[in-house]
Symmetry: T
Subunit: 148 residues, 12 copies
Amino acid sequence: MRLLVVNGPNLNLLGQRDPDHYGRITLTEVQDRLLERARELGVELTFFQSNSEGALIDFLQQEARGAQGIIINPGALTHYSLALRDALADTRLPVMEVHLSNIHAREEWRARSVVAPVSLGQLSGTGWRGYLYALDFLVAHVREEGAR
Amino acid sequence: MRLLVVNGPNLNLLGQRDPDHYGRITLTEVQDRLLERARELGVELTFFQSNSEGALIDFLQQEARGAQGIIINPGALTHYSLALRDALADTRLPVMEVHLSNIHAREEWRARSVVAPVSLGQLSGTGWRGYLYALDFLVAHVREEGAR
Amino acid sequence: MRLLVVNGPNLNLLGQRDPDHYGRITLTEVQDRLLERARELGVELTFFQSNSEGALIDFLQQEARGAQGIIINPGALTHYSLALRDALADTRLPVMEVHLSNIHAREEWRARSVVAPVSLGQLSGTGWRGYLYALDFLVAHVREEGAR
Amino acid sequence: MRLLVVNGPNLNLLGQRDPDHYGRITLTEVQDRLLERARELGVELTFFQSNSEGALIDFLQQEARGAQGIIINPGALTHYSLALRDALADTRLPVMEVHLSNIHAREEWRARSVVAPVSLGQLSGTGWRGYLYALDFLVAHVREEGAR
Amino acid sequence: MRLLVVNGPNLNLLGQRDPDHYGRITLTEVQDRLLERARELGVELTFFQSNSEGALIDFLQQEARGAQGIIINPGALTHYSLALRDALADTRLPVMEVHLSNIHAREEWRARSVVAPVSLGQLSGTGWRGYLYALDFLVAHVREEGAR
Amino acid sequence: MRLLVVNGPNLNLLGQRDPDHYGRITLTEVQDRLLERARELGVELTFFQSNSEGALIDFLQQEARGAQGIIINPGALTHYSLALRDALADTRLPVMEVHLSNIHAREEWRARSVVAPVSLGQLSGTGWRGYLYALDFLVAHVREEGAR
Amino acid sequence: MRLLVVNGPNLNLLGQRDPDHYGRITLTEVQDRLLERARELGVELTFFQSNSEGALIDFLQQEARGAQGIIINPGALTHYSLALRDALADTRLPVMEVHLSNIHAREEWRARSVVAPVSLGQLSGTGWRGYLYALDFLVAHVREEGAR
Amino acid sequence: MRLLVVNGPNLNLLGQRDPDHYGRITLTEVQDRLLERARELGVELTFFQSNSEGALIDFLQQEARGAQGIIINPGALTHYSLALRDALADTRLPVMEVHLSNIHAREEWRARSVVAPVSLGQLSGTGWRGYLYALDFLVAHVREEGAR
Amino acid sequence: MRLLVVNGPNLNLLGQRDPDHYGRITLTEVQDRLLERARELGVELTFFQSNSEGALIDFLQQEARGAQGIIINPGALTHYSLALRDALADTRLPVMEVHLSNIHAREEWRARSVVAPVSLGQLSGTGWRGYLYALDFLVAHVREEGAR
Amino acid sequence: MRLLVVNGPNLNLLGQRDPDHYGRITLTEVQDRLLERARELGVELTFFQSNSEGALIDFLQQEARGAQGIIINPGALTHYSLALRDALADTRLPVMEVHLSNIHAREEWRARSVVAPVSLGQLSGTGWRGYLYALDFLVAHVREEGAR
Amino acid sequence: MRLLVVNGPNLNLLGQRDPDHYGRITLTEVQDRLLERARELGVELTFFQSNSEGALIDFLQQEARGAQGIIINPGALTHYSLALRDALADTRLPVMEVHLSNIHAREEWRARSVVAPVSLGQLSGTGWRGYLYALDFLVAHVREEGAR
Amino acid sequence: MRLLVVNGPNLNLLGQRDPDHYGRITLTEVQDRLLERARELGVELTFFQSNSEGALIDFLQQEARGAQGIIINPGALTHYSLALRDALADTRLPVMEVHLSNIHAREEWRARSVVAPVSLGQLSGTGWRGYLYALDFLVAHVREEGAR
């Protein structure tokens, strides 16, 4: 099983931006922890980060074929990128949406995700651990679906 | 460490209601899996379910004292029970909000949680596994906070 | 055939409250007329009234099993009790919604029923007779469905 | 006692349009059942159907004088015909509004009736039987008012 | 100079409907007073009333050619008949809008006229006299425009 | 009979501001024509103009006692001065609202008058003649009311 | 194959109204071009225009039986005639919606079509040519559907 | 004279919850001060607090008969409990609404009280003293009404 | 301690306007009762009333220096005068907002106070007594703050 | 004459994505059909597709100079890319907007095009044929404009 | 060249109000710096400040004649004074709007200026320097316009 | 001191696009004037323009480290690019927002800037000079902050 792990704009700065708020862990360290867990679960991960909506869509179009699921933190694109939503829907893969902070605990517009209607689930406010939970859930989901 | 695991209206029927949609697992079985994980993590759990907003608030007021965190699936109260929100806020405990299905993938009003602004995070669309993730996160969070 | 007849908050005061507006008939008298009609139609009725949303949900969960349909006047819960709506939907029974006064002839918010989307039909402004029409319709509906 | 039974646009096609949804009964058959019941109740009925808002208003203006009440299913005019509403109000007769399907169980705009504020009551989702209930209620209402 | 005086749905009942509110003057009497004033002003009037939006549009299309202005009370069509608005705009004639009661002193939706954006002016709440003022203004306006 | 004729902010510049739009007639000339007509009708007029909301309210409080009606063009205060509305309502006199241009033919917010709910009628888009029509109507109205 | 070509209010004036904006071509000329193209495509056309919503619905009810598709320009009824929408839906025929000018390039309310949800497609801003494109598309669509 | 003093969800924790914000006074102490003042005024008080909407309604139904007025702080139910509002209205007693903090100085939704339309007055932001003012006002109001 | 007691537009007419609604007490009499109570409490009062927003702001700017608190009934300025709000905020004094009638029991817009976000509390619907309660609360508040 | 044919995000996958919904024709095949028609019409076409908003704008800026018109299907950028809209407007070329499915027959937000206000027309729901109609219309339009 | 520099409510307190937020510079000092710059630029300035909307309008009416442009900070009147907007528009002079703090970085309603649609430009968040920039821009603008 | 000067989509065409509206000055010429002023002020400038949101974010991430402030004209991204807003906020540098035309003098949506809440100030409608004012203000601001 191969899964895509996709991060949107500004998430490459994780660990540098506002460390009191987001913690001091970097995106590379998050990816290391994901790799470790993936090895335990016997699955393969492909990582991608970009600040460009177009590059994210290009990646999804090219890599979706050989993959069985997607973990995505679209950053601020969450709230308006209908093009990213279309790209996710076109993959026909199960999608898990992850947000480091709780987007539902702040202004009303932050709670709106245009990506959610094409996702299996959404994890919000669980920091870097949210990626691990998404990985765990996606693997279980794909295996259960496959077993049917 | 003692945590409260609270379920709101209609969640006692889990496993009977719409099994194709929610799965065949019952609330008791979910609680068993939580207990098992809690044992591994070395924490204690107190369960409560009620169809009554008032009873849920009573429970929170009485049990919050000796507890260090709350996992709650408020069911449909999620969308309007400001009284439940006040009760959660008054406990001053970290709260994790769990929803079996993805409330952000449907009608706009379902995506609105009046409880979210007083919660650490929200897990939505991860079925019964969401409770385990919430437990895992809450224990890690409380221990990290305690370590500061 | 057994049907549930459920009344929400403040409907126990029928006949005492604002008699010029709601008439002088009491809830007991309405239930007597329903029983009489039920006898003619050969069906059994189970009555319940409560001012508590939780108690209404408890009743629906416990009694729905042996019943074939529900007549409900949710009182003011009509406009916000999404938990009651879930409970009604979970019964998977045909539901008829009854309102004594015409909720569509007043302020805009009164016209909104959160229960309507899980109901077969809605009778509004026909006073106590609305319960009889709901009974008549539900019996005919269940028998026609059964005959298919 | 004479009552008007008025049907708006597209209701002449009843029985032909979407029979799985609206049933196979035609408007003529509904009117026959109404006549039968009217005979039992000792009242006279005048029927009218038109696809034209103007013709419906003309009819109401001409026939209201000798009538004691109105049963109307305005079809899609329900949602915008303020002119029909004025015509109904000008008759100063009690009005019962009937809808075959439950207009409150669908999109929000379908639940809005501009005619409701000048009506005694509204029956929605009770199919052709709704006309009978409206007849029954109107006769009872007029007789009770007359008895005061 | 020839002017059109057009009245929409339900205005044929003027004098009969709610006389305490609208006065006891009939539409014919209003037209007589307009004719009298028109004679003094040396202009010709063509009257038309219909309950049908389509008939009103037909009239405007046929009579606009030989006319220099339009006085219209669209009745309830004021609030939604964009087709009537188009017909008025297509005449390219100056239009005066008249309302017997003050449509701005009641519910917010009554204050909205879809016809107003293609009219010179609007007279509201001045009863039958409003037609006279509209006539007076339109004659003055046309003569001043002609004099340029 | 004595009537008040009140003009709000910026109306003192009538004739100077945008003459192509509002005409070249000054406020003094409008008042002269009103005086002439008032003489014919046998009524007395008291004029007042101010750019200050407070001064307009002071005037209404002091002069309302001996007056039988008010003609007012509140200028831009029309759209927000709830204090002016209160002052008008407190006089308990019949009020006619006049606007030189058609406030209903432009942006939606211009069509909203907070003063309208306490006025008998509103004349909009009839230029300086609107004052004369308001005078004519108010005199007729007061005499008819007095004759009752 | 027989198709209906239906035009709503004010479209009979095509060529006379605002020729700089809509062109000088008349409705008859548009119909001639459509006939010519229909002959090439081997299909039959039935034309209808009316200013009356009711007459348009009558036509659709009577002619839909022997037809395979509908081209309609509902004029201003586009924005509010839910009755016309019902009539179109009841025909169960494929519908193409045509607008001479680009209704999406102006005020927001003009962009809203209540007819669109029951149409295959919408052509807007392509002048009289839009009818030809609609004809071409409808014929191709019906033939492809028939070939399945 | 007997008055009811009713407190809604979470108010039993007064003095413990957020003491910097709400003060350290407990609900019992507030009630003691009310009793003292009531003695001075010669009136009797009946206290009730519950976290359950249903229990609050039960109390009002049972105790309203022998009472002359109600002081209520509905807690968070203020913003959505239309059932509580109905119960208050059904008592036909004068109602005073009290809020410890100023609900109008925060988010817009907090300023909305569904209970206010059936209340005499609302005291907001005056802490525990608000109950005393409500008591004082209610006693004066009832005596003045009685004196009429 | 010196407090400012400020009344906005139209409140100078208290006692004359709508006595059935507002009572027959005049503003002078209210001020006398306030003075009496102030003497008991040992505080000094400075009164001001104006119909002009600008004059109210001038007063606040000049008098705030030597004062410890403000009681204000802004009249209709409550709903839109952001300039008055700024002036109140600039004084940095505790502010109590008073309304004679219950502004929350009527139209939705009346419930909105732009002044509330800079006030300690709001008393609404308690007639002239509201000023006394405001005085009492402000004195207690200032003394408690001073005692910290 | 040279025209630009521009496709936005995800349209490169045409034929692969949801073939039951969009058909099995690929973007290359659509372009072949366009080229064929262009040859007949004697015009030259330049194709471009990108998933990146920025690349689409770059293309328009560079190629607009030598072109006479633009056919664009902006994909999901239709609904929010004001930058694309600016780029189209800056070209000062006639623009035709094409959508494969009927964007007006679904959710309300899909019907909103931020690009429409700078376009000549919009073709929606006509599948790949829409590009041909747009080509045909644009050529006719440019030639007619040139002939003036 | 003569320019008007106008300040609205509460700006006379500049330097005293919230010095940490607005700085310690007074309005007089700002005016001195403006005068100095004006001398360099060879233009004359007339200053005015008032807390009264009416006085600001009076000033603009009297002084606009001999002036070539206006710099205005309307204070809180920015958000609702349509009368001030009319007065500015009537001057037909170029207007520059200045705000000390960034009104677009806070609540949504603060970002709305009713004055902006009649202004050349708006400077927000640049403190006292904004007046200098406005002066600089206005002088350049007037000279460039004069040079055409 | 080094400052970043960033321009978003379509601003590279400055001078070519709509010269009557935006003037004939090119982006290069604007940058030359900025360089000249920067030299006078003793600061260094780094310029960047792109039509791609992603490239703008990349630039900000890479260059923010060695810079002390940012001047940005985000073009149409102003109204929706929450990703750009995040990138600006992550730099933790003071930001000045510049718009050539007055975005507050047109449609309501143009007045909304999602970037404003993370900016010091906004200059709108001052053409190319706005960049100079932003430069001047930013230098003064940074030096004053540094001096604290």
